[in-house]
C-alpha cells in the first residue's frame, strides 16, 4: 500500500498528540530550567568544613586583628576581632576583600628581570655579585618586625644602610624627634585622654592610624553629640569625610593650614589662654586671617574654642613644624592627652627618601609602598606580592601574599602604648615566593631567622612582666608561668599591650617659632600608605557606588 502525503500529516499529528501524554516535553522543560539554575560556567563555592582562625592584617603597618574563615586551605572570608584592644573589631574597607587578593590578576607569580621572566637563582646570583661590588641599601616599609631586624642586620653586616619608609602618621611626629631627641617611631598620640583634637588635614576618620582605633573612640565620645566629650575640629580646604563628620569644620584656603596654626598660637599667647610658655610666631594675626581667608575674629574665636575643653592636641597630616610648634604652645608635648613617648627604648631610623649614594644594590621589602622609587643607579631588587605596574626596579621578586607568611605585628604608628601581636600564615602561595628576609638569610647564613627573633621577643615580654595579654579576657603578663604559654596565646590571636611610659615622658626644647616650611613631601611619592593593587571588591566603593575615587593603590 502506498503512503500518501496526507497519511504522513495525520501520522505526525497523532505522534504529536501522543507525545503530549508522555514525560518527554514536561521533563525536558523541567530539566532545562534546572540546568539554567546550575549553569556549568557559573563558579560555585566548594563544599566542606569551614574553620575560623585568628591572625593579623599585614597589608599595611597598622596590624589590625583578623578573624579569618578558611575552607580547604583557602581564605574565604575576613572579619575583625571584637576583643582586639586597639582595633576593637574594626577593619578598613579594603581588608574585607583582602582574602581575594592572593588571586588578583596582578599577583606577581614569577621572578621578573627588567620585566622579562627570570628565576630565583638568577636573582640570587645577580644580588651576590652586586653585593660583592659595593655597599647595599635595604629599605623597609614596616619597621619593628622580626623580619625588619633580619633586613637591618644584613645591611649592618655588609656595612650597608638600613632605611625605612615611615608612615604619614610617623612623619607627622618628625618635628618632635628633632626637638626632643626621641625617635618619631616611638612617639604617639594619647587621643584616649584628649578633650579637643584640632586636625590640620589629617584624615582622622578615614584611614588615619589603625582603623577602628580613633573612629571607634570618636563614635563613642563625639558622634552626634551637641556637646561631645571629644571635640574634633577639622581644618581642611575641602569637605573631606572627616570634615563632614567633625564637630566643626574650618575651611581654610588651600595650603594655609600652617599659617592658621601660627595664627592660633599667636592668639593663645597674646590672650594668655595657655599656661605653657612657647615661641611666639613671627606672622601677624592680620596676615594669618588674610592668608587663611578666615579673618581675624574667626581665628580668635577658634583659639578660644580650642582651649575651652582641654587637654588639646593638634594633629598634622604630615611633617609640619608649625602644627608641632602649636602643640608646644598648647603644652601638649609630653602631656596627658597630647604627644607622648611610647617606649623607653631608643631606636631611630634613617628615612628612605634621603638620596642614595655609592650603593651597588638596593633591596626593597614588599612592605614598602609600591609608588616609592629610590633615585639611584644601583641595581634595585624589589620584593612584592603584587605587580603594581609601573616602577623602576631591575628585579621584581614574588613575595608572600596576604596571610601567606607568619610574621609579628608591632604597634600601630599613632599608638600611645606599645603593642605586640603575631600573625600566623593561614594559607599557602600557589607558586614559589620568598620574603626579602628569607632571601637575604639565604645569602648570609649568619643571620638570625625571623622565628628566632619572634621567640626572643616573647621571652623579652615575658621577662619584663609588663602589660596585658588581651584575648577574650585580659591577663596580666605577670600571671604567666612560662614564656611558652604566652607565645602560644599570641599565636592564637591574643594581643600584648604595654603600659604608658610614666612622666617625665618627654622634654621639648623649642626657642623660636620654626621658619615657614615649604611642602614637606617633595620626593614625588604619595604620603599615605599605598598598596600595589586594590582588592577587586573595591569596585563596590568606587565604580559601582561612586562613594570614593581610585587613586593609584589608594582610595581618595
Amino acid at each position: 500500500m502506498k503512503v500518501s502525503r496526507r497519511d504522513l500529516l495525520v501520522w505526525s499529528a497523532g505522534a504529536a498528540a501522543g507525545l503530549m501524554v508522555t514525560p518527554v516535553p514536561w521533563r525536558v522543560l523541567d530539566d532545562v530550567s534546572i540546568w539554567s539554575q546550575n549553569w556549568p560556567w557559573i563558579p560555585q563555592p566548594a563544599r566542606g568544613p569551614v574553620d575560623v582562625k585568628q591572625s593579623a592584617c599585614t597589608l599595611c603597618p597598622k596590624g589590625c586583628g583578623l578573624r579569618v574563615r578558611v575552607a580547604g586551605g583557602f581564605l574565604v572570608g575576613v572579619a575583625g576581632v571584637a576583643s582586639h584592644p586597639v582595633t576593637r573589631g574594626a577593619l578598613c574597607p579594603l581588608a574585607f576583600g583582602a582574602h581575594q587578593l592572593n588571586w588578583h590578576p596582578q599577583r606577581l607569580r614569577t621572578v621578573l628581570h627588567r620585566r622579562s621572566v627570570s628565576t630565583w637563582n638568577a636573582a640570587q646570583m645577580a644580588f651576590t655579585k652586586a653585593c660583592s661590588e659595593g655597599p647595599v641599601v635595604v629599605i623597609d616599609g614596616y619597621p619593628g618586625r622580626a623580619a625588619s631586624q633580619v633586613l637591618e642586620s644584613f645591611a649592618k653586616n655588609r656595612r650597608g644602610e638600613y632605611r625605612v619608609v615611615l608612615s604619614a602618621e610617623t612623619r607627622a611626629l618628625a618635628p618632635y624627634e628633632r626637638w626632643t631627641g626621641v625617635p618619631a617611631a616611638l612617639l604617639g598620640y594619647d587621643v584616649e585622654n584628649a578633650g579637643t583634637i584640632v586636625s590640620f588635614g589629617a584624615p582622622l576618620l578615614d584611614g588615619w592610624g589603625a582603623p577602628g582605633h580613633f573612629t571607634r573612640l570618636w563614635a563613642d565620645r563625639a558622634a552626634g553629640m551637641n556637646d561631645p566629650q571629644l571635640r574634633l575640629i577639622q581644618v581642611e580646604p575641602t569637605l573631606s569625610r572627616t570634615a563632614s563628620r567633625a564637630w566643626q569644620w574650618v575651611p581654610v584656603r588651600n595650603g594655609s593650614e600652617a599659617v592658621l596654626a601660627a595664627g592660633i598660637a599667636g592668639v593663645l599667647l597674646e590672650e594668655h589662654l595657655v599656661s605653657a610658655r612657647g615661641p611666639k610666631p613671627t606672622l601677624s594675626l592680620t596676615a594669618a586671617g588674610e592668608q587663611t581667608g578666615l579673618g581675624i575674629d574667626a581665628i580668635r574665636g577658634l583659639a578660644r574654642t580650642i582651649v575651652a575643653r582641654p587637654p588639646v592636641v593638634a594633629i598634622a597630616n604630615d611633617d609640619s613644624p608649625e602644627v608641632a610648634a602649636l602643640n608646644v604652645v598648647l603644652g601638649a608635648v609630653g602631656a596627658r592627652g597630647g604627644i607622648v613617648r611610647r617606649s623607653r627604648e631608643n631606636k631611630s631610623y634613617l628615612a628612605a627618601d634621603t638620596p642614595i649614594s655609592s650603593a651597588r644594590a638596593v633591596v626593597i621589602d614588599s612592605s614598602v609602598p609600591w609608588d616609592f622609587a629610590p633615585k639611584t643607579d644601583a641595581e634595585v631588587f624589589r620584593f612584592a606580592a603584587w605587580d603594581g605596574g609601573s616602577g623602576s626596579a631591575d628585579w621584581l621578586l614574588p613575595a608572600p601574599g596576604f596571610l601567606e607568611e607568619a610574621t609579628d605585628v608591632p604597634a600601630a604608628p599613632e599608638l600611645a602604648v606599645q603593642s605586640f601581636a603575631l600573625a600566623p600564615a593561614l594559607t599557602k602561595a600557589q607558586h614559589e615566593v620568598r620574603s626579602a628576609a628569607l632571601f637575604l638569610s639565604g645569602i648570609d647564613s649568619a643571620l638570625p631567622t625571623a622565628e628566632e627573633i619572634i621567640h626572643a621577643r616573647c621571652q623579652q615580654i615575658f621577662q619584663s612582666r609588663v602589660g596585658m595579654l588581651c584575648s577574650r579576657e585580659q591577663t596580666p603578663v605577670s600571671r604567666f608561668a612560662a614564656s611558652q604559654k604566652l607565645e602560644e596565646q599570641l599565636w592564637a590571636g591574643a594581643v600584648w599591650v604595654g603600659e604608658p611610659v610614666g612622666p617625665p615622658n618627654l622634654r621639648c626644647e623649642l626657642k623660636e617659632w620654626p621658619t615657614p616650611s615649604t611642602s614637606t613631601r617633595g620626593e614625588g611619592w604619595s604620603s599615605s600608605w599605598t598598596a600595589p593593587v586594590l582588592p577587586p571588591l573595591a569596585s563596590k566603593l568606587v565604580e559601582e557606588s561612586g562613594l570614593r575615587q581610585r587613586a593609584e593603590g589608594r582610595l581618595a
Partner: protein, 194 residues
C-alpha cells in the same frame, strides 16, 4: 476515515513507546563508582552498624557526608581481604593519599542548604527515613546522572512519572515540601536555599 484513524493511532503508539520506554533510558547516563563497596559487610563484620560511625556530624553541627580517606585508612591502611576493590582502595587511594571520587546519590545542588543536624536532632528523623535502608545494601547501586540538569537520578526518583513511587524514592523540592507540610514546618524559600 477509518484509515486516517488507524494512521493517527499508529502515530500515538509510536510516540508513547518513545516517550515512556526510550526516553527514560536516554535521559540518564550511568556513571561507575570508583570502588565496589559493601555497607552490609562493614555493618556486620566491622561493627560499624551505626551510620554515625562514618557519616558523622561535625562539632559546629555541619554534616561531614562521606568519610574522609583517613577514616578508611584507619582499618584499610594495609589490605584486608583479597578482593580487587580492596587492592584499588589501598593502592590507588589510601597509599596515594587521594580521596575516593565517589558519586554521591543524594547530592543536592549548590543552591540547597540542608542541615542534617536539624533533621536528626530537632525533627528526630532517622537516616532511613530519607535514605531508605541503603546502609544494609550489599553492593553499590548504579549512579545515574541526568544528561540535561546534571542531577543524580535519586533526586527525581526512579519512577519517571512519579505517580506511584516506592517510599524514599525521590528527593525533589516537592518531596521536602510535602514532608514539611505534613509536619507543618514551613521554613520559606531561604530556609533551605543558599
Amino acid at each position: 476515515m477509518r484509515r486516517s484513524l488507524l494512521v493517527f493511532g499508529l502515530g500515538v503508539m509510536v510516540a508513547m513507546l518513545a516517550g515512556w520506554v526510550v526516553f527514560p533510558r536516554a535521559l540518564y547516563m550511568r556513571k561507575p563508582q570508583p570502588l565496589e563497596f559493601r555497607h552490609k559487610t562493614h555493618a556486620e563484620k566491622s561493627g560499624l552498624a551505626d551510620c554515625n560511625e562514618c557519616h558523622a556530624l561535625r562539632d559546629d553541627g555541619t554534616f561531614a557526608g562521606l568519610p574522609a580517606m583517613e577514616k578508611c585508612a584507619g582499618c584499610h591502611a594495609e589490605r584486608i581481604g583479597e578482593t580487587k576493590a580492596e587492592a584499588t582502595l589501598v593502592n590507588n587511594y589510601i597509599k596515594q593519599g587521594h580521596e575516593t571520587p565517589w558519586q554521591v546519590y543524594a547530592q543536592q545542588p549548590p543552591n540547597v542548604w540542608f542541615s542534617h543536624s536539624i533533621h536528626l536532632k530537632r525533627a528526630g528523623l532517622k537516616c532511613e527515613d530519607c535514605h531508605a535502608n541503603y546502609g544494609a545494601s550489599d553492593q553499590v547501586k548504579v549512579y545515574e546522572v541526568n544528561r540535561i540538569s546534571g542531577y543524580s537520578r535519586d533526586i527525581w526518583g526512579h519512577s519517571i512519572s512519579r505517580l506511584h513511587r516506592a517510599p524514599h524514592d525521590g528527593m525533589k523540592m516537592s518531596d521536602c515540601e510535602d514532608c514539611h507540610r505534613q509536619h507543618n514546618a514551613d521554613v520559606g524559600c531561604l530556609g533551605c536555599h543558599k
